[in-house]
Point group: D2
Chain length 334, copies 4
């Protein structure tokens, strides 16, 4: 039983997903790739032995050999592509964010509920990262007691020129928003965005410090720094009653040279989270073949967007902003 | 030329200072020790070959052979002891805090100014810690650019039963207040104390997160956790424009046993800052013998108390509290 | 184009390979599994969706749908299985050792040469380990200059009861023999096995220190310790003219608890080399689909066995033993 | 009770000892410094407030105010200076080696025995290094079981132009010879010096690998590399029955910059062993004031020279050389 997959979007993320699927995941086959840029679609399809390519994502969804879909198109197209997948009855793995607006996210949740099946996975791949998974396991063991406080940092070497402070929250910090909920099983209740001294010449000047308040009074401080210069570095330490657990500092080698012992940083997220992307895809394919689904769902996608919206309001207002899920969600959660 | 020293207070700190002075510092001699508890004074004096002991600190200050004084008596006695030293014309190294109230600190600054000489050093020993000193040097080199943000954590294994949240600020966080000013050469303008989920049964339930705002918009977040359980652990990372510098993780050995590679934490501050206390004493004795004075002065002691008072107000109010030095200080600084 | 694979041997290694192939590698399909123990063969086949199982490896090789073969049967069957694959014209990935005797290895090299094609890959999976690969890249960059000396340690938590000193060389140290040749591109000329104080109650008492001499005078010391107790730990530091490069110490997390900061060791090789096995399989499948072959070949398998034989002689004699490849090999290398 | 000290030799080591004694050790006073180069003697004396200087070491020993002597003159003068101290009844701390020849060492042991008192300490300062001391403590706790094997490396950034292979053993490796005996409480029985590929243009081309055999079959491999280029780096890992203990990697800070996280190495031994030298001096002064003597004695100095001589023979012969203490020593030890 081999699952046929279609990928919508042949940009950096789509091309990466196509290659990972074709090379590093068993039990599946890439059927088709779509992109408005036909050459791009065609290249990614051919490089990964997909039979067909499309310039229209909806046409790909209708392809009978495509049994499930990966959405890696621009953020503002996510909702309509996912909706089309639901209508076609095809499970979908959607890159984060599920959708940029909470209204769209709610619409997708409702549509999935109407389908009566679990159909949507959101690409919060950190849940599959071995280091975060080990942190989750340590916390779950109870050995360290309850979580009290958490420190996070999300650093990129250099933001693209078009990056805005809003994007650093909606596209970068959103990963932290999801992972801290998943690690602790606690919902976020408020967020405050605090400006520090910052660097940068363009539209994005940072770092920004986010203070995320979870249930039970657990605080999470998150440094978001898209211009950290030295490399891509993701940090997290969870402070519990009896001890702390921190992400290790992965490095294949130590090099001693010219008075220093050094380990290197990856230049971007791929060097750090390649394995998480691969394991996410493999688990998703597994879930399509009957194994339990253990990735982020539509509700998680909605909540991540909800927190991001509150953080953006706080960035504008300078004040603490509460995070209030829609009444329909709160009711279904109760 | 051997400098004769008297120590006021024969508690833990005073006894440590006496032993360090007698054993690990050259060019000096312990002359006398005072403590209201005569046995304690006598024991510490004898153990370190001091000729005399007193039950009255003022009497020790008057001892003609005592050329300079270390004040390690209870916090609320600091001001009057230091004042007596100034009157006697004897330089003094006063354990932090210089005094618990800003009024007393201002009085001591005024008294020292009247003396026309540099007479007061405050025991902010971290300035002499090799790791903080290396961080200072790295920052000063300019290689990392301007500082933007700083993350600190101050963790003790277990707070004494009598410890209060107020003491965790006035006695513990005060070290961070001083060291961040010293590292960056920037003054603090406001502070917010934020409660997180916390543990502990007694009067002190923590951790507390402090958000200290410095000039130029530099933010410092400080976790104060007196009940961290696992050990004594001081952390600091300074985030700059081009990179970051973090305190190393000192450990004499790595032990591999039972599935783990482990380094140990000291159980309290002595295992971490013994060298800083020793180097502080040695530098102070050096300054009495003519070398430049490079420790914290009365003004630094005043500002540390001023920040602590603001943090305590914030702890009570839940609001951001501004830090406003007395007009006389602002004027003299201008 | 999906490559059909058969696996001979359904023990620990065979079952691991089957699962990795079916789940973590694209472009391939597990067709059949063989094992003299039919239940074992059947279980591994079913668990990984292979269509058929055999009790006879030769029958599996003859299966028309099997396009390439993984040999994971007992060491002393390797040669005849690989030979049957060559006769059937099917590429083969053979677990190390290629064969326990140099005579068998030479026979396989000759048979492959007669076939006129590259047919044999030997499962020295460390060549695909990201840490060793990074070390290779650092060395190749020339930044550290020529290699001069290398320190290795190969530690297992606990040897199985049936393990002998000979097995610790032929099955464990053999990985070091291959990887040091691959890293430096230098051949081994002599080896000395040195007994140290040792522990253990059974047939295997160790550690053993091996001194491997490479061309150009490069020395490699290798500690082989199958009873190291604390965990599975593989170490290597390459000392070069301008600096050194050492395998990093991978650990997903740091846990601070009870006075210690600890990282954990895997209990056996799977926790350390899972990725290497996966990447080896993926690269082998890639080579079957036309990409360059970059694993160890039959010649490498022969040389590893040759060094192991010399080390075993040295273990018995206590003397330095030279490593002299067969004249036919030396001639073809010239 | 302040002990008056004289220092013979005002070169690098003597000047360092003088400064450490005057500044960082209590209960003592530097009385006099001698050096054939009068300006050098005078400068070191004045800089450290010593009352007098001499051009003749013997005259210094005769100075009535000098109660104990530090010998930091050239190696070949050690024996006669120490002998003069013994004759004058003055305890002596002699820089390693105690003497370059075993005959001289034996003469000093005999002279000390005749004096009926413990008079000689040899400057094997590593016994006072906190990291080696912690390793000793871990081993003594019994938690790791018996020692089986030990790996050491002694790396200097760059050997002085006049350095010879012989000096790298007699002046550098001699520290390892002493510390492994001290750590494990086991005597050395044989040593083999093995040449590897090496670098360097001058008289010293290295690294050299030493294989030291201790009682009970414990092996110690020691890399001696005076031209390691990248920095001063001392490594040691003790492999025991239940686990291993390794010297930590001290570094005040971690700096993240330009794609790397780095810690720095000291450029020479002073950055690494300053504390050990200080603590050695402090303990020696303590022993003169009645505390137990816990440094290396004349017998340790003799044995270090004995091992060094055997290693030098092995370097010349290429063979394993036995280490046989003089019959008089073996008898007294029995």
């Amino acid at each position: 039983m081999t699952i046929g997959i279609g990928i919508i979007g042949a940009g950096i993320m789509g091309a990466d997903q196509a290659r990972t699927l074709a090379t590093h995941v068993g039990g599946t086959k890439l059927i088709a790739v779509s992109d408005p840029d036909e050459a791009r679609a065609s290249n990614v399809a051919r490089a990964n032995e997909a039979a067909r390519h499309y310039t229209d994502g909806f046409a790909l969804i209708e392809d009978a050999a495509v049994e499930a879909v990966i959405v890696a198109s621009p953020d503002d197209t996510h909702a309509r592509m996912v909706l089309a997948c639901l209508r076609a009855g095809k499970p979908v793995l959607c890159e984060k964010p599920l959708a940029p607006t909470v209204a769209e996210c709610l619409e997708l949740i409702a549509a999935e509920q109407r389908s009566g099946r679990h159909m949507i996975q959101v690409g919060f791949m950190r849940r599959f990262d071995p280091a975060y998974a080990a942190m989750h396991e340590t916390l779950s063991s109870g050995r360290l007691g309850r979580p009290l406080l958490m420190h996070c940092a999300h650093r990129n070497a250099k933001a693209p020129a078009f990056f805005t402070p809003e994007m650093s929250i909606a596209n970068a910090a959103v990963h932290e928003f999801d992972i801290v909920r998943w690690l602790m099983g606690l919902e976020a209740v408020a967020v405050t965005a605090i400006r520090s001294a910052r660097k940068g010449e363009g539209t994005l000047r940072d770092p920004i410090l986010l203070l995320l308040e979870l249930e039970n009074g657990v605080l999470v401080d998150i440094e978001i720094f898209m211009n950290a210069a030295y490399g891509y570095d993701i940090r997290a330490e969870l402070v519990c009653e009896n001890g702390t657990v921190e992400l290790g500092r992965p490095a294949p080698n130590l090099v001693r040279h010219a008075g220093e012992e050094a380990r290197t940083f990856p230049s971007d997220w791929r060097g750090r989270f390649n394995d998480a992307y691969r394991l996410q895809l493999q688990a998703w394919i597994g879930s399509l073949r009957g194994k339990p689904q253990n990735g982020a769902g539509a509700l998680d996608g909605y909540i991540a967007t909800l927190i991001a919206q509150a953080a953006l309001r706080s960035l504008a207002s300078g004040a603490r902003e509460e995070i209030a899920p829609d009444a329909s969600i709160a009711a279904s959660a109760a």
